[in-house]
């Protein structure tokens, strides 16, 4: 899945010959480094999960889960050494903070999503409790997946804050806040108004946005249907367990039929018990689908950012035009369009020449500023479009590959389930023959 990173990086192998120390130094210093992604240099995994108690922000006692992140330098492993991993503990909220930082800092990247905060698409037996061990385990896998994806991304993997996250347990939060990323975040309101008022967004982005909406709707529909099917399948298997009890009781009163009935009953019990493992495995498939459900949101965020930059560009351009127009009117005296100034002039007479001069000068300054602004905005918009388009292509390829694999995995699970069923019923048939 996240092994793309290794295949994608084109850089030469000399990087991997850095020693462990060099590797860590370079991680701390560099911000943008083309070439090999972090994953090539460092093995990352989320090894364990533990329950902790502590005081939260409102000074109340709470229980939460922390996850152990282990890292090891890749070259050390390549040389055959087996150093102890560096490790630190992180909470889910810290992962969230990291992701929010990445979202703001790299608005042109489709940032990998985190596993869900609360269990959704829950079917009957599955508990919606965040403390449930199965849920915690699946979340651990999801968090590891998140880190691997980020660390194998050509752009995201070189971020300093990410390296801090993986290597420095304490004081990381302060460092993140110090970057001031929260100030850079676009307000929801601004983004929403841009969506409605933008005039000429790039068509490709609009198509992508439309696609992300559909992706979200289809994956959530699929997840819901799957959960319901799982629920029913669970019911069918478990009811067969009753055969076990009833056959056993019946076998007690029969002479020739007794043995066959009783062993058949045992097999029915085993059949009923087999569904637990089967459905637990299927949850991993559901998690793969959920990842892309949340990815759709990230994709849409990139498109929204484009709408915003485009809108701001349009606004800046519009502003410049109107200022130039004002300047022209003031300079030539010709009023081309209806304006308040023109009206007041007609009603109250023209203003004094000194005032007019002052205003003309002000306008010229503003026009200069405005032209700068338009230039900047144009660059910002074009850069965003360029970088985002590259990343969206990367995302598309990754999505196609990952989801195809997920479907294959699902088919493999179904095959395994069928084989188990065949075995169970063959055994039951043998028992019935002995009756």
């Amino acid at each position: 899945m996240a092994e793309d990173g290794r295949e994608e990086s084109v850089a030469a192998d000399d990087d991997s010959q850095h020693t462990a120390e060099d590797g860590i130094h370079s991680l701390n210093n560099t911000m943008v480094e083309e070439g090999p992604t972090l994953l090539r240099r460092m093995e990352i995994c989320v090894a364990e999960a533990e329950k902790r108690s502590g005081k939260n922000t409102v000074n109340m006692q709470e229980t939460f889960t922390v996850y152990l992140i282990e890292t090891r330098p890749m070259d050390a492993l390549a040389e055959g050494r087996n150093p102890a991993p560096d490790s630190l503990w992180r909470r889910y909220s810290e992962f969230e903070l990291l992701r929010n930082y990445l979202l703001v800092t790299f608005p042109y990247i489709v940032v990998p999503p985190l596993p869900e905060k609360r269990a959704e698409f829950v079917w009957h037996k599955l508990s919606a409790d965040n403390m449930d061990p199965d849920f915690v385990e699946r979340r651990r896998v999801g968090l590891e997946n998140f880190l691997l994806r980020v660390a194998s991304h050509p752009v995201l993997s070189n971020d300093k804050i990410l390296h801090h996250f993986l290597t420095e347990e304490h004081g990381w939060k302060e460092v993140v806040y110090e970057t001031g990323f929260q100030a850079k975040a676009d307000s929801r309101l601004k983004a929403l108004s841009a969506t409605f008022r933008v005039r000429n967004p790039d068509k490709r982005f609009m198509d992508m946005k439309h696609y992300s909406d559909e992706l979200q709707s289809h994956t959530s529909q699929l997840l819901r249907a799957r959960a319901r099917v799982a629920d029913r399948l669970y019911g069918v298997y478990k009811v067969h367990g009753n055969y076990g009890r009833v056959f056993s009781e019946w076998s007690a009163i029969e002479k020739e039929m007794g043995d066959g009935l009783q062993s058949a009953g045992h097999h029915m019990d085993a059949y009923a018990a087999s569904i637990d493992d089967i459905l637990e495995e299927e949850e991993h498939y559901a998690d793969q689908l959920k990842e892309y459900l949340f990815y759709a949101e990230a994709l849409r965020a990139v498109c929204r950012k484009h709408e915003l930059t485009q809108f701001e560009l349009e606004m800046a351009t519009q502003d410049l035009i109107s200022k130039k127009q004002q300047h022209e009117e003031l300079a030539t005296g010709i009023v081309r369009t209806f304006s308040f100034k023109g009206m007041t002039n007609k009603l109250f007479g023209q203003e004094a020449p000194e005032q007019r001069e002052a205003r003309l000068k002000l306008l010229e300054e503003l026009i200069e500023e405005g032209e700068e602004a338009v230039k900047d905005k144009t660059v910002e918009c074009e850069e965003h479009v360029e970088k985002a388009w590259v990343d969206m292509q990367r995302f598309k390829e990754q999505k196609d590959k990952d989801l195809r694999e997920a479907l294959i995995n699902y088919a493999v699970m179904q095959v395994s389930m069928c084989k188990k069923g065949i075995q169970m019923w063959s055994n039951a048939k043998e028992c019935f023959l002995k009756m």
């Binding site: 289809h218 029913r232 009811v239 088919a411 048939k429």
Partner: protein, 484 residues
């Protein structure tokens, strides 16, 4: 009791006569098929006479003595089967039927071992239809509308090689009421034989309409089972009522000749009176039988309930499966590279849901009816045991009354005693037969269910493996494209 052993021998010999392999052994007994048939008919006639004599108060002087003389005749003839030097123990009962015990220490050609061997083979050769001399099918349901009512009739087709039937083929139309009539006649004449139950009059739960197609089909199958069971039964298949049922075009006139309402009321009253009094000394084997019947009834009912629940759950599962395929294909519709795999998965899910539906149908049409049938059998068994008890109670009552009066000879009491013996022995024989038949039927139904489940999983396995194969081929094609 030697009586049932003799009966058993006669049954066995008659059946053995049909199988060419055993002719040599049968000839050792020096009896003809004709004699065997006559003996059995005599025996059944005795039963009929006794039944009539108990029920009709009009000819007390005719039937009981006639019955007695007939039975004496019968037993005399049968005892001629057993030459003096053969040593038959009196205690041995129906253990003859079980594979583990044998009657005597006679050699491989002795009648006891031959009987055992025949029983073993008969159990395995259940399917052979050439041995059946009476073959009945029930089909072609048709609806009839009259001014008063609407009802369904079924075509009953009989094919037979039996000499007591005038032709070899008969075709009549019968309605459910006619089947009820036949069964009640059979039960009346053979109070302690196990007469296979009929499907219920109507099913209250689920409020199934009487003319619903599924209901009619289920009932038709059950009616055919009923007639098959009757025609396979060594005693019941010789019943005159069965013959009338299978052959007479106009059954209604025959029905009117049957023992009237009042006679039946009399019987019921007597039965109730005796059941209140209770049986003094029930033979142990019947107590054991009673216990088994109670337990069997409850167990089979549990199995039936579990099966019904499985069917319900599976139906809901199939419904959800049907909803599970469209999301895949809809999603595939808007994807490019993923379109094919998504559409294929949608297809796989749909095929699996179809297979599950088939498997569900199998459960409903094979396992559930079989279990239901045996639930009804359990009720029949309880009724048979009650009737047997009543017969014994009546005999005991009369005997006590006679002893109080000081009568030494009571032909009536003698007849009742014979009746008790006959009923007990026929029940014992039939009980074994029923046990064995139950085992076969339920084993077959359960095997069939296991097989259907197996096939279901195998088909689903094939569906998903085909998908995997196609994906692997695609994958290797892609790799070939990518390699420069």
């Amino acid at each position: 009791m030697v009586v049932q052993q003799r009966l058993l021998v006669v049954f066995t010999l008659r059946a053995a006569w049909k199988v060419q392999q055993h002719w040599a052994e049968v000839r050792l007994w020096r009896v003809s098929l004709f004699w065997l048939e006559i003996s059995l008919k005599l025996h059944s006639l005795c039963g009929v006479f006794l039944g009539v004599s108990v029920n009709s108060s009009e000819f007390p002087s005719v039937f009981p003595p006639a019955a007695c003389r007939l039975s004496a005749c019968c037993w005399t003839e049968m005892s001629a089967l057993f030459p003096a030097h053969l040593d038959l123990e009196e205690e041995e009962d129906l253990e003859v039927f079980s594979k583990k015990t044998s009657l005597t220490d006679g050699g491989p050609n002795s009648p006891s071992s031959m009987m055992n061997q025949y029983r073993l083979e008969a159990e395995e050769e259940e399917e052979e239809k050439e041995e059946k001399e009476l073959f009945v099918t029930v089909d072609h349901p048709e609806s009839h509308v009259t001014a008063i009512e609407t009802f369904i009739t079924y075509r009953v087709l009989t094919k037979t090689t039996r000499s007591d039937f005038d032709c070899s083929e008969f075709e009549v139309r019968r309605r459910y009421q006619d089947f009820l009539w036949l069964r009640s006649r059979l039960e009346e004449n053979h109070p302690t034989l196990i007469v296979h139950p009929l499907p219920e009059k109507f099913v209250m739960k689920g409020m199934v309409e009487r003319f619903n197609e599924d209901f009619i089909e289920t009932r038709r199958r059950a009616l055919q089972r009923f007639l098959s069971k009757i025609s396979e039964h060594p005693l019941l298949s010789c019943s005159p009522h069965l013959k009338i049922f299978l052959t007479t075009q106009d059954l209604q006139s025959h029905k009117k000749q049957a023992p009237g309402f009042l006679t039946r009321v009399g019987e019921t009253v007597r039965a109730v009176a005796h059941s209140v009094r209770g049986v003094r000394s029930r033979p142990e084997e019947f107590t054991l039988m009673q216990e088994y019947v109670e337990q069997f009834s409850s167990k089979i009912s549990s199995v039936d309930k579990v099966t019904q629940r499985i069917i319900r759950e599976q139906r809901e599962y199939v419904d959800e499966m049907k909803q599970y395929s469209p999301p895949y294909s809809q999603w595939g519709g808007m994807e490019e590279a993923l379109q094919l795999p998504l559409q294929e998965v949608a297809g796989c899910v749909q095929r699996c849901s179809t297979e599950t539906q088939l498997q569900l149908q199998h459960l409903s049409t094979v396992l559930l009816p079989a279990l239901h049938e045996y639930m009804l059998c359990a009720d029949t068994l309880k009724a048979v045991m009650r009737r047997r008890d009543n017969i014994q109670a009546e005999y005991e009552a009369r005997r006590e009354a006679m002893e109080k009066r000081g009568d030494q000879e009571g032909e009536e009491v003698q007849a009742l005693q014979e009746k008790v013996e006959v009923c007990n022995s026929s029940l014992q024989v039939d009980w074994s037969r029923w046990r064995s038949s139950m085992r076969t039927d339920l084993k077959t139904a359960l095997l069939s269910t296991a097989e259907s489940n197996l096939q279901h999983y195998e088909k689903c396995l094939a569906v998903w493996e085909t998908f995997l194969l196609s994906q692997r081929e695609e994958g290797s094609e892609q790799k070939e494209e990518e390699a420069p």
